[in-house]
Symmetry: D2
């Protein structure tokens, strides 16, 4: 949908707050001939920490791409920055893990195809074969890797090999229903996105809709977060909710829940793929405008 | 704002589901000359339990008010109903408990004055004197009853006496910040409404905004519930949420939270005063349309 | 997803308000052995008109299906009712009209397949061939019938013939982008559902997102309505909105708009297929709980 | 609620987009010893126009306040900027115009008192005396200036004199219900904020709730905008909506409408008072995060 113009560079950084950060970074871009097309900053005053996302047009930029990082190092050192440099024409490879329900998978595939999600979905991994037909319709390799407590370590090794072969940069758990081991998680820090079918931290665990019904809540939610070794406790990227009432049966809650799960997951993935997220102390700064 | 027309009777009932309930109840009303102006039912199929709220015009009703309940008993017995009968021109007496923050108190007073909340706010009780000026502006008696761990029992006795003297039928905790004893709570079963400044069951306890900030949630909420002896665990009447981001400081969260707290509390109180709520097994059925 | 239990009958009726309607209808059901599983009523006091939807279990109902309407006629006459009788195991045939954009079509197909929309999508008609691959994936006949001002009458005749051949009971315009003639519309009164990509009545016409951008609105919407001969003026079934800001380009508005268009359309179609809608004086009564 | 720290300067600017703007502005601040605490920019690519809001701490800033503008002029000229400079410890004087309904007035007064709205409400003007008691409770001068078609010019002259005497910088029409003449409006360009009780541009004019009921919409809205000589057509600052249904009577729509009117107005006023709004070609850029 979006016409691809000249490529952009995107710099994400955080550092102790101090005078002169914006001036230094913007001068660096200006002196090399870049035009800033988007910049946003945030200062966490309670931690005295500065965060920034700055995006500029490379059209007349005088540094070649592979020289930019090198040239930026002195500024980064001066301000003790943690930083990442991205280019918006790099489309990352993505793997999607699913189980039996299709709504999140479809949402990702359709938004990817319509140009909203700028990632290459290279493979789909599942512990069941139910959704193979969708993968086939979209022409994407589908791997069934059944997991049991006994085989989990072996299966994860296979999965990791597949991810490496396909040069995967982002793993999306689209209602995968399996808990990954810390070993697996640690291979992709802040690069595994999960959708949890509740408003975390309420109703963590595998049956949130039953708990919601039991407790009689009037609103249910969904939470998309980066996966960390601690279950359901990783940095939250996006959340949303929908109203329910006593009339909603468990089946209705599940049905209504699907609508927000897929939306929340899609938004979180979009933010990640557009390099809008910095994780700091188990929280996200999402530069979402 | 609402023009008072002929009075209505409101019957709230629940019973095991069975054929003929609606036919029996509606015949009872029809044969006595009543015109049903609103009726809503709900069947919890998982529990095989039927719930109903039915409201009828008393204009040409041939039973006097004080005879209706008596006349209804045979039907209630036949279907093993739990039931309550109300009249919409009975305006209950209400007590509001507050502490130092005024937003919920103002919301109740302004909505009461504009005719949205059909209750008589007879007295305001606080453990601090900060909000006395508001009570005075609105011409409502204001009692300061400071609570300490040592005096709590004594103070609650005084409070109960005040409530009895004023024939209070509903107690609203409008950010009261004190935990009531089970003894107090048991005097007003399903007649004490609290506003909790989080989306329960997430962030129960006294500092939800700090917990929300710490956990990095993207949505905060408020919950209005009936008070039961178990803290923050009573039947939920109403909930709502508002979006937040990493940019929101604790102060901002509190400020945004105020906007939903007062709305959620006002809606819950309105539902109660209009006799729209049945509590069953620690959950509410709210006939809210 | 929903387990099919014993079939239900659904009666939708409206009539001048009067004492005894509920009693008569519920007695009719009770005396014939039916158990009411859902009932909702609404009285438009400004018009003195009563509306009702009542649903009962046919398990032990002593009238055969094809005798129910006959048996109900005396009550309908007595109260001067307009009424319709449906059975929830009758799954209507549906035709979907599309143009080039796929999001609404996919939404309908996926929700139909997941059991949320109880209709048989028998054919898809388009003035372009772009979406043929989707129809093929889902195994649904796809007809390309290109429309020009000169051919419109002829094409509509063909379309009407196709609809009759497939015994279509509901036509869904899923971003069809063509204006139907009054002749076509009059063949399916209150049985053609359109999705308009704005919050009607604001921004009627073909380019609402450009108008929204021009006017600088902070919220955009979508409206699903029954089609009447007057363009964009039929009874509104469902509407919803999403926040936007100055940052949203036309492309972004279109992208955000897609998310609500498909949701709003799907909800409207669901309400129709579940026989929850009465149209009265160009407005809908939607018994949506 | 907010602890006042060292004062901040706020620069709002727009200019043709060009390389070097951010670098020049941030260098200006850095070289004079300022620490940027908030900066946000936006480029309207369709118009090739750049917009920015930048806020910095004056603690160690080496230019005196009254010299900053002077020192900035060369940069402003170089980039052909339209710009304004504000200081966050300047609390503007505000006048509120009301008629008979109190909900918007109360909302402003309560939020002002709680520290959310940083303005001095110096006087309240009304064409009726109904709300005098509120003004008295809050200790604010209240002027009744009845308006008739014949007296409008004279009355507006009096009003303008009052505004000048009180050095009013912002006029808020809190459901004032009178149309101001272009002459009046032109005295306060982009400094008169109105709340319109509909989702503009739908239902412009004086009776939006009746129109909404008539049209059967499922969502109603409120719009806060700057007043321009053309009625209801000024730049929109904020909008929001609330769901309604066929069940809502006109009275209910009015009641529900009040809840969003007051919220939408309060948010718009807050954005204005915090100097977050640039108006450009009858649209607002609101730097609201």
């Amino acid at each position: 949908m979006q016409v691809m113009q000249a490529p952009h560079a995107i710099l994400l950084l955080s550092c102790p707050d101090k005078r002169g950060i914006v001036a230094s970074v913007s001068r660096f871009i200006y002196q090399n001939g870049g035009n800033i097309v988007h910049a946003e900053q945030y200062t966490d005053t309670s931690q005295n920490r500065f965060f920034m996302r700055i995006e500029w047009d490379l059209k007349n930029f005088q540094l070649k791409r592979d020289k930019i990082a090198q040239a930026f190092i002195p500024i980064a050192k001066e301000f003790k920055m943690e930083w990442r440099l991205h280019f918006n024409d790099h489309i990352p490879n993505v793997a999607v893990f699913v189980s039996k329900t299709s709504h999140c998978l479809y949402e990702l595939l359709l938004r990817q195809r319509s140009g909203e999600l700028m990632g290459n979905i290279k493979l789909i991994i599942s512990n069941h074969s139910n959704l193979r037909y969708i993968a086939e319709n979209f022409g994407i390799p589908f791997y069934v890797l059944a997991v049991t407590p006994e085989t989990k370590i072996k299966v994860e090794e296979k999965e990791l090999r597949l991810l490496q072969e396909h040069e995967i940069e982002l793993v999306i758990l689209a209602r995968y229903m399996q808990i990954l081991t810390p070993n697996f998680v640690n291979h992709y820090p802040n690069r595994i996105i999960n959708i949890h079918h509740s408003f975390l931290p309420a109703f963590a665990g595998p049956h949130p809709y039953h708990q919601a019904k039991e407790r009689g809540v009037k609103v249910i939610g969904a939470t998309s977060h980066y996966v960390t070794p601690e279950l359901d406790a990783g940095p939250i990227i996006e959340q949303d909710v929908i109203r329910v009432s006593h009339r909603d049966s468990i089946e209705n809650l599940i049905q209504k829940g699907r609508d927000i799960e897929k939306l929340v997951l899609a938004r979180a993935v979009k933010m990640h793929l557009e390099n809008r997220i910095i994780v700091y102390e188990n929280r996200t700064i999402v530069f979402d405008t």
